[in-house]
C-alpha cells in the first residue's frame, strides 16, 4: 500500500478519532513510551483482572502512525491474557521489521495488520512499534512502570 493510501484508509481514522485515547480509573499498570528523536510520547494504562487485560487506554501525542498504531493495539488486547498480548506484540514488531510475513500469524493482529507496509518505510518503523514495545515492556517488567 502506498503511504498516502495507508493514511487515508487506515491511519487517519484512528489518529483523528481515536477510541481508546482515554484515562483508565485506578489502573494496575502504567508505563510511558517515548521516541525521543521525533517526540512521540504515549502513556499506557491497563486494568488487569485475573491475568486478563480488563480495560486499557492511552494518552499522549505524536505522529499519526504512532497514535493510530497504539489505538489499534488497545482495540486488540482488551480481553486478552498478558501472554496473548505479549505474543501479539512480538508478532506486530516482527511484521514491521519484516521478519514475520506469513499471513496466518499476521491475521492474528486483525486491523493492526494493515500497518504491514510500514515495513517498507524504515523511517517510520519506530513510530509504528512504540505502543507495542511499551506494552510488552510493561507486561514483562511491570516493576519498571510508573505503577
Amino acid at each position: 500500500m502506498e503511504l498516502k493510501q495507508l493514511y487515508r484508509e487506515i491511519v487517519n481514522e484512528h489518529n483523528l478519532h481515536p477510541v481508546n485515547k482515554k484515562k483508565i480509573d485506578s489502573p494496575d499498570l502504567v508505563m510511558r513510551g517515548v521516541n525521543p528523536s521525533c517526540g512521540d510520547d504515549i502513556t499506557l494504562s491497563f486494568k488487569i483482572k485475573d491475568g486478563v487485560i480488563a480495560d486499557a487506554g492511552y494518552e499522549g501525542s505524536g505522529c499519526a502512525i504512532s497514535q493510530a498504531s497504539v489505538d489499534m493495539m488497545v482495540d486488540q488486547i482488551i480481553g486478552k491474557s498478558k501472554d496473548e498480548a505479549i505474543k501479539l506484540a512480538q508478532t506486530f514488531v516482527g511484521m514491521i521489521k519484516g521478519e514475520i510475513t506469513d499471513e496466518e500469524s499476521i491475521e492474528a493482529l486483525d486491523e493492526a495488520a494493515a500497518l504491514q507496509d510500514v515495513a517498507h518505510m524504515p523511517a517510520r518503523v519506530k513510530c509504528a512499534v512504540l505502543g507495542w514495545h511499551t506494552m510488552q515492556e510493561m507486561l514483562e517488567n511491570p516493576e519498571k512502570g510508573e505503577k
Binding site: 502506498e2 503511504l3 498516502k4 493514511y7 487515508r8 487517519n12 481514522e13 489518529n15 483523528l16 525521543p36 528523536s37 521525533c38 517526540g39 510520547d41 501525542s61 505524536g62 505522529c63 499519526a64 502512525i65 518505510m121 523511517a123 517510520r124 513510530c127
Partner: protein, 404 residues
C-alpha cells in the same frame, strides 16, 4: 560566466530533476568537481601524507598542506598553523572542550551558551561543566530569534570563562551578533568559541573580524565530502593546549615512558589524516568562490522570501524565527496545525521532496519554543523558484492526505 543553472548541472543528484532537495541545512549536495578531485587524489597521489620520503607521499603531503593554506585564507587570512583538520564541527568543538575546557575551567566558573545551540555545541560544554563543577548559563532569544544586547550583557559576567555560540541557528536561521558578543566576552576575560557549521556555507567568514578565539565548521554542509571538518584556534591558545587525541603523527620524540609533541597544527591531528577529503574541501572552497557568496545570498533570500510568502498563505502553518526572509539564511522552520512534522515529511517524501522533521539536534530550543518537533525546509543556491512552487503546492495538500 557560469549561471546558477550551469552550476546546478554540476550536481548529478539535482540535475536528474527527480527529487527536490530542501534539506541543505543538514548536508549540502556535492558537485562533480569535488567528487572528481577526491577521486583524482586517490588515483594519482595516494600515499600516507607527512611520512614518506618518496614522491607520492610528498605529493600527498603537498596537497594536504595546500588545502590547509586555502582554508586559512578562506576564513580571513589566518596562519595555516591555526587550522586543524577534524572530522566535523562536533569533533572540532569536542577538541576545544577537552583540550581547552578541561584544563582552564574550574569549579564555580560559568560557561555561557545559547538555548539555540545544536547539540554539538551544547553537550561538550555540559560535559565540562559536570566534570569541573562549573555552571552552564543560557542566553535566550526574543520572539524574533534574536539575542539582544541586554541578554548577553546581563549573563556574560566576570565569572564567565567561556562563551560558546552558534553563528547561525540551524532552526531559526538567524545570524547571532557574534562579533558584538565576542567583544563583550573578551572585556570580561572569557574565551569565545563559535560554531560556524550553518554560516560558512552561506556567508564570507572572517574570524579576525568576528574576533572569536575558536571557530568550527564542517565541510559537508558546504559541498565538501562528509568526514572533513575544521577548527580554527588562535595560535597563543592552541600552543598551550594539550593534545586531544594522541598516537601517530602528532609526536616529536617518543621514549618508553614519555613523548614530546609535534608543533602546530600537527599536535592536534593524531593518526593518518583525511587527506583525500581535505582535497575535496579545498575544491569545494574553490567552487564556492566561483559561485560567489553574493549570488548565493541573493538566490537564498529570493527563494526564502517565496517560501515564506507561500507558507503565510496557508493559515494552518506557523513559521518560527524572524518575519524577515533575509534573516533566515535559507532555513524555514515551521509546524502545521494538527499534523505531526514526521507525517508532513513522510507525505512529502511520497512526492519526492526531501525536508527535515524532528528536533534538529536542538532539543532545548524545541522545549523553549514549546514545540515537540518541527518541520524544516532549507534551500541553497542551486535550488530553484520552480522547486519552491512545487513544494508549496504539495505542502498545501498534506492536510487533505491526513484526513482534514
Amino acid at each position: 560566466m557560469k549561471t546558477l543553472e550551469d552550476f546546478r548541472a554540476d550536481f548529478d543528484i539535482l540535475s536528474s530533476g527527480e527529487y527536490i532537495y530542501f534539506d541543505n541545512a543538514a548536508t549540502s549536495q556535492r558537485p562533480r568537481q569535488v567528487l572528481d578531485a577526491v577521486s583524482e587524489f586517490y588515483k594519482t597521489k595516494n600515499a600516507n601524507p607527512l611520512r614518506g620520503l618518496y614522491d607520492f607521499s610528498m605529493a600527498a603531503t603537498e596537497e594536504y598542506e595546500s588545502a590547509r593554506s586555502l582554508v586559512a585564507d578562506f576564513i580571513g587570512g589566518v596562519s595555516p598553523e591555526e587550522i586543524i583538520f577534524t572530522r566535523n564541527t562536533t569533533e572540532s568543538i569536542n577538541l576545544v572542550a577537552y583540550s581547552y575546557g578541561m584544563d582552564n575551567i574550574s569549579e564555580g566558573d560559568e560557561i555561557v551558551v545559547t538555548v539555540m545551540e545544536h547539540h554539538s555545541n551544547l553537550l561538550p560544554w555540559q560535559m565540562v561543566a559536570r566534570k569541573k563543577g562549573a555552571k552552564l548559563v543560557f542566553l535566550e532569544p526574543d520572539s524574533e530569534g534574536v539575542i539582544t544586547r541586554d541578554e548577553y550583557t546581563n549573563k556574560i559576567t566576570d565569572r564567565t570563562k567561556l562563551v560558546a555560540i552558534g553563528h547561525v541557528s540551524n532552526v531559526f536561521g538567524v545570524t547571532n551578533p557574534v562579533k558584538e558578543i565576542a567583544a563583550f566576552a573578551h572585556e570580561k576575560g572569557a574565551v569565545v568559541v563559535v560554531d560556524g557549521a550553518q554560516s560558512a556555507p552561506h556567508m564570507k567568514i572572517d574570524v579576525k573580524d568576528l574576533g572569536c578565539d575558536f571557530f568550527a565548521f564542517s565541510g559537508h554542509k558546504m559541498m565538501a565530502p562528509m568526514g572533513i571538518g575544521v577548527l580554527f584556534g588562535k595560535k597563543a591558545l592552541l600552543e598551550n593546549m594539550s593534545p586531544f587525541l594522541t598516537g601517530g603523527e602528532m609526536i616529536e620524540y617518543v621514549t618508553r615512558e614519555d613523548a614530546t609533541y609535534a608543533g602546530l597544527p600537527h599536535k592536534f591531528e593524531a593518526g593518518t589524516v583525511n587527506a583525500g577529503d581535505a582535497v575535496g574541501l579545498s575544491r569545494a572552497i574553490d567552487y564556492l568562490s566561483e559561485v560567489g557568496y553574493e549570488r548565493i545570498r541573493q538566490q537564498e533570500d529570493k527563494l526564502t522570501a517565496l517560501l515564506m510568502e507561500g507558507l503565510k498563505n496557508l493559515p494552518y502553518i506557523k513559521i518560527y524565527g524572524s518575519g524577515d526572509a533575509a534573516k533566515h539564511c535559507g532555513i524555514v522552520t515551521f509546524t502545521m496545525e494538527g499534523v505531526h512534522p514526521h507525517d508532513i515529511a513522510s507525505v512529502l517524501n511520497d512526492d519526492k521532496i526531501c525536508i527535515r522533521a524532528g528536533h534538529h539536534c536542538a532539543q532545548p530550543l524545541m522545549q523553549f519554543i514549546g514545540a515537540g518537533s518541527t518541520a524544516r525546509a532549507s534551500v541553497y543556491f542551486y535550488n530553484t523558484e520552480k522547486e519552491v512552487e512545487v513544494f508549496l503546492d504539495k505542502l498545501s495538500k498534506v492536510r487533505e492526505v491526513m484526513g482534514y
